[in-house]
């Protein structure tokens, strides 16, 4: 721990509370409202921001548009857009910009109305793309869920993983969601049935969406957004809240290749870089904020991050060790995750936000004395082209 560099910290966070905005606000307004709240959380204001990060999902040339809309004059502009993990990439880039002395206060924002604008995501139609990859694939009618399901199917084939084991991911996140009032409200607003803690039987008994993935193994489609403020060490020490340090980061991509192993993700490459830079091991991690688009995403990533060996994830998650009040493993997605709290299409920013809440002691499923967290985003499709961003965070 002594050798860790502490050059940049998350000093402000905000999660937009509504998951169903009913057409009353747009994604850009969600970004701005969240940015103002996150800056206030840090004790900073618009004019302090000198680095802007945006996933460029909202508009062409978003680096220009977002600066004007916020009314800021950044000297670092980064519009890395790699899907749901974009915000882990942004945190990595902000650390480097701050470490290089190019910036002191970085602002990351996200806003989406995926639910209220009825965006077709999980089971929506694909096709019509002209990128060369799409032109070879769109004829097959692969839904996004089916893509992840193919990873699950191969994992079951190679390692004997069962649906009951995958269901442990869903029951753990719901266990946490029921303790988070915003998650409960989200499930009400999105008209979930039977909003309560779930059992393994509930999950495997829910309707099949794309074999072998059941309804309760799939994330919600909500509205939402949020913001994260990252500051240099000298700014952080004067901020309103306790800083949460960015200790290590890793970035990688993977895409369909002949003969590739579908049961491993790009996390295999990003995680060792991040853990290495932070000088910590998975066994030391208290909080695992892992992108739970589907149950199989988490199971695959627990292995790829090194919490257990490849193929052993199924047995490892049995018995509820991922719950915040159980020992023997990290607490998983203590806000309720994308499965049961918030998934407007790109969940990566919420991984950082809840990790910060835990390391500040502000979570609704607070782990006693939480010191270290990992936030791992997976963008794109796990069984196709995707990105991996790993961020290791440490308390002050």
């Amino acid at each position: 721990m002594a050798t860790q560099s502490r050059d940049a910290a998350i000093v402000g966070v905000y999660e937009y509370p509504s998951r169903d905005v009913e057409g009353k606000v747009n994604p850009l307004q969600i970004k701005a409202a969240s940015a103002a709240k996150a800056l206030a959380d840090a004790g900073l204001t618009w004019s302090d921001v000198d680095a802007i990060y945006d996933a460029s999902e909202g508009a062409p040339m978003s680096g220009l548009m977002i600066s004007e809309y916020f009314g800021i004059k950044p000297s670092v502009i980064d519009t890395t857009g790699v899907g749901g993990s974009s915000y882990e990439f942004h945190a990595a880039h902000a650390l480097r910009a701050i470490r290089d002395g190019k910036a002191k206060v970085a602002l990351l924002t996200y806003g989406s109305t995926a639910h209220s604008s009825a965006m077709a995501i999980g089971a929506g139609g694909r096709g019509g793309g002209v990128a060369p990859g799409d032109n070879m694939e769109s004829f097959a009618g692969q839904t996004l869920i089916a893509n992840y399901a193919m990873v699950a199917r191969r994992h079951m084939h190679d390692y004997g993983t069962t649906s009951e084991q995958l269901a442990e991911i869903s029951t753990a996140t719901r266990y946490h969601a029921m303790r988070n009032p915003e998650a409960v409200e989200a499930m009400n607003d999105l008209e979930f049935l039977n909003i309560r803690e779930t059992t393994i039987e509930d999950v495997v008994g829910s309707r099949m969406i794309a074999d072998p993935l059941h309804l309760l193994e799939c994330c919600m489609v909500s509205d939402g957004g949020g913001a994260v403020v990252i500051a240099s060490a000298d700014v952080a020490k004067n901020c309103a809240k306790t800083p949460v340090w960015i200790l290590g980061t890793g970035e990688a991509t993977k895409y369909p290749q002949n003969g590739a192993d579908l049961t491993s993700s790009a996390g295999v490459e990003s995680a060792p870089v991040a853990f290495g830079e932070a000088g910590v091991t998975p066994a030391e991690i208290d909080i695992a904020m892992i992108y739970d688009s589907f149950s199989i995403t988490v199971l695959t990533l627990l292995e790829d991050l090194g919490f257990c060996a490849k193929g052993e994830g199924g047995a490892w998650v049995e018995g509820g060790r991922l719950r915040f009040d159980q020992s023997g493993g990290p607490a998983l997605n203590t806000d309720g995750g994308g499965l049961s709290s918030n998934h407007p299409g790109m969940r990566g920013i919420f991984l950082l936000i809840e990790a910060v809440r835990q390391l500040r002691g502000e979570s609704s499923s607070q782990v006693n004395d939480a010191k270290l967290a990992v936030a791992h985003g997976n963008g794109g499709m796990l069984g196709g082209r995707h990105s991996a961003g790993t961020v290791i965070l440490g308390g002050d």
């Binding site: 089971a123 032109n135 004829f139 009618g141 692969q142 869920i145 193919m150 199917r153 191969r154 369909p256």
Partner: protein
């Protein structure tokens, strides 16, 4: 507009004009599954494209697959909102490893019940779905 609305929904069709993959699709009119191999470094490039990913002085040559392969993984889709595929559920989507190397995404056809009749490791052969300008490479169990 009214004409559009009366159209029966169709499978999303590949674009013959796409510059990297158009040659592949033109060849499917004759039920030929073409793939590329570099004469310089032997890399099998899939999906098709204009450059070799294995070396910087590549010499890509088109080869024709014998059309035999193995299912690497699959899923049976039960829910789709796509105008064409919503009426096709349940249907099987699969990654198929052709014996020559390329792994491609397709549908498994020619099975009575995709829920019980499709398996990882299953041997399959190409089954073409013919259209006016091109054919779609599906697979069926051997």
């Amino acid at each position: 507009m009214a004409e559009e609305q009366k159209k029966v929904p169709s499978r999303p069709m590949p674009k013959l004009t796409e510059l990297d993959t158009g040659d592949f699709w033109h060849a499917t009119k004759n039920k030929e599954f073409k793939y590329q191999q570099c004469a310089n470094c032997q890399t099998i490039v899939w999906h098709p494209r204009a450059h070799c990913t294995g070396c910087v002085d590549g010499d890509l040559q088109w080869k024709t697959s014998k059309g035999q392969g193995t299912i690497y993984s699959f899923s049976v889709v039960r829910l789709s909102y796509h105008p064409f595929f919503r009426s096709k559920v349940p249907y099987a989507v699969a990654y198929v490893d052709l014996d020559e190397g390329p792994r491609f995404l397709t549908n498994v056809t020619g099975v009575e019940d995709p829920l019980t009749d499709v398996h990882i490791g299953q041997r399959v052969t190409l089954e073409w779905e013919e259209y006016e300008e091109l054919s779609i490479p599906l697979v069926k169990p051997v």
